[in-house]
Symmetry: C2
Subunit: 328 residues, 2 copies
């Protein structure tokens, strides 16, 4: 009897220790390895009061690219999928819209024909599917789309296809006093509709590309009207500009996956004091997609060539991530 | 002896009650009156859990104009004073700069001659005094200026000339879960240097006018370079546009003082649910300045004419504020 009690007590103790060890791992979807170790060491260094690398909470700014860094960007940006779905719905209501080649191609889901319309065609498609309404109307359209849309390869809601290890990382940084920002080449008003639900990032912490807007009072009712004109492209050298404009502080940690994030990582990691630059390398054709140097979407060349010498951490999806997607 | 003890105990009790009453007043620099009562009633309504006017903390967004709302804008915008001081310093180093009439007038402190150079002259002055350097250099220049500059009328540091009642209001709102933003017609990079110290508002919660910037790598060192070109004017109908761009949420409370804030208050107060619109009316020539309809700086006509019917609260500096300035 006494022995049995002792065993039970011992077992309980061991379980408690195991539970504590598990709770202590802030990044359970990451395999133990150099990438995880580097991230944890950085966070511990900047949060250690009195330590030589301590950074005040107000300056703990972390910036994340979205497409390919927080969720999949293959086989196409989700915002392009939105534009195609929207073009299809608009053409169904008003077939005359299909007189424009880009709109016709998009509505037919013909990516080759759409690509052939070039930049002019794409801007035409963006103008039709993203402008001409109020910001409130646009947000409602995007909100309805994200609820019903399915990823073309995995046939699951996009909301289940964010990267679980990156969501853990966002939580981990926030738990350590970081303010987390999304700095995306995608549309700011598109992303703001879902950033809180997907990543716990409020709309005011989303930086992105934008079209121009105008304040108008229509029949006594004020509205922000979306205009068919590009305002800002938050990509490549535009990312540090967007960061400076919206945040007004230089980040100390940056996370990206393509050469569109190169300048953001460069700007972040060349400041004084401790810095962290991380590139997600998509090398897992089994669980996700494998692409880098030759890809049209998410092309990654400079990051692979220059990143390591710059002290950036290259994360291998295949080797560093225990689980890829949040929902599967 | 017993009676004396009783008196002491009674006195202590009364003092404690008085102290508690004082501590309970979140706006001690405001006289009791309709304006203060309206503000307090609004804050209590939106924070009352389960109440019909309850607003979730994430949506408690309050926007404040700066010049004339949080600190004095008379006899001239402090940023104009900065441009003048800066022009003077630059001309002292390089007299050839004075060949431009606007720069010559500014360096001489000749406001009449400066005004005569018109918009072209002002843009020329802005380009010289605000652009051509990196964002880090500009922030350092502004930071040094604000430490040494004195207000032309009161001969005191600008940092002592913020409005005490408004600073209490910022604190009060933040204590009640509001996120406070500055939405200024002034320059965003100018204001961000001092917003935290002056108002407890971090740089990322400052929206303002901007010039264009470019990301550059000079001798291997990246920088944000300030260009002599207007990017965005955050005034009048630009304020709702700036709010939408930077915050991405519609505010529920807005504070301004001039017709440059009209659209911001309109956009804020015409949304659904409880809303607060407040206009500071400068009617105190004794303690500050008295100006409204006829003023070149901070002109206020529509706000006075239409504000009350729109439910906006007009604050009288003379009657509603016990003390005007923070430092005197």
């Amino acid at each position: 009897m006494f022995q049995r009690s002792l065993s039970v007590a011992l077992l309980a103790m061991l379980l408690a220790v195991a539970a504590r060890a598990q709770a202590a791992d802030p990044l359970p979807s990451w395999n133990d390895g150099a990438a995880k170790a580097r991230i944890v060491a950085f966070v511990e260094a900047v949060t250690q009061t009195g330590g030589k690398d301590f950074v005040a909470p107000a300056d703990r700014v972390a910036v994340f690219d979205n497409d390919g860094t927080l969720w999949s960007e293959q086989p196409m940006y989700s915002q392009l999928a939105f534009a195609i779905d929207r073009a299809r719905a608009m053409v169904a209501k008003n077939p005359a819209l299909a007189s424009r080649p880009s709109v016709k191609a998009a509505a037919a889901g013909d990516m080759k024909a759409l690509a052939a319309t070039g930049e002019k065609g794409l801007l035409e498609l963006v103008a039709l599917t993203h402008a001409g309404n109020t910001s409130e109307e646009f947000a409602q359209i995007v909100g309805e789309w994200i609820k019903s849309a399915r990823h073309p390869t995995f046939k699951r809601p996009y909301t289940e296809l964010t990267y679980k290890p990156m969501r853990e990382l966002l939580d981990y940084l926030r738990a350590n006093g970081f303010k987390t920002w999304i700095v995306s080449g995608g549309g700011i008003e598109f992303l703001r509709v879902m950033s809180e639900e997907l990543y716990g990032v409020p709309p005011e912490q989303v930086v992105g590309s934008s079209i121009k807007t105008r304040y108008e009072v229509r029949n006594g009712k004020p509205a922000i009207v979306r205009l068919p004109e590009i305002d800002f492209i938050d990509d490549k050298a535009g990312k540090p500009v967007g960061i400076h404009k919206f945040i007004g502080r230089r980040p100390i940690a940056a996370f990206g996956n393509s050469d569109g994030d190169f300048e953001m990582l460069e700007w972040t990691t060349t400041g004084p004091g401790p810095r962290l630059g991380v590139i997600v390398h998509h090398d897992d054709a089994q669980r996700e997609f494998a692409y880098d140097r030759a890809s049209h979407v998410g092309k990654l060349v400079r990051g692979l060539d220059e990143g390591p010498a710059r002290g950036w951490t290259i994360v291998s999806v295949k080797n560093d991530w225990k689980q890829v997607y949040f929902g599967r």
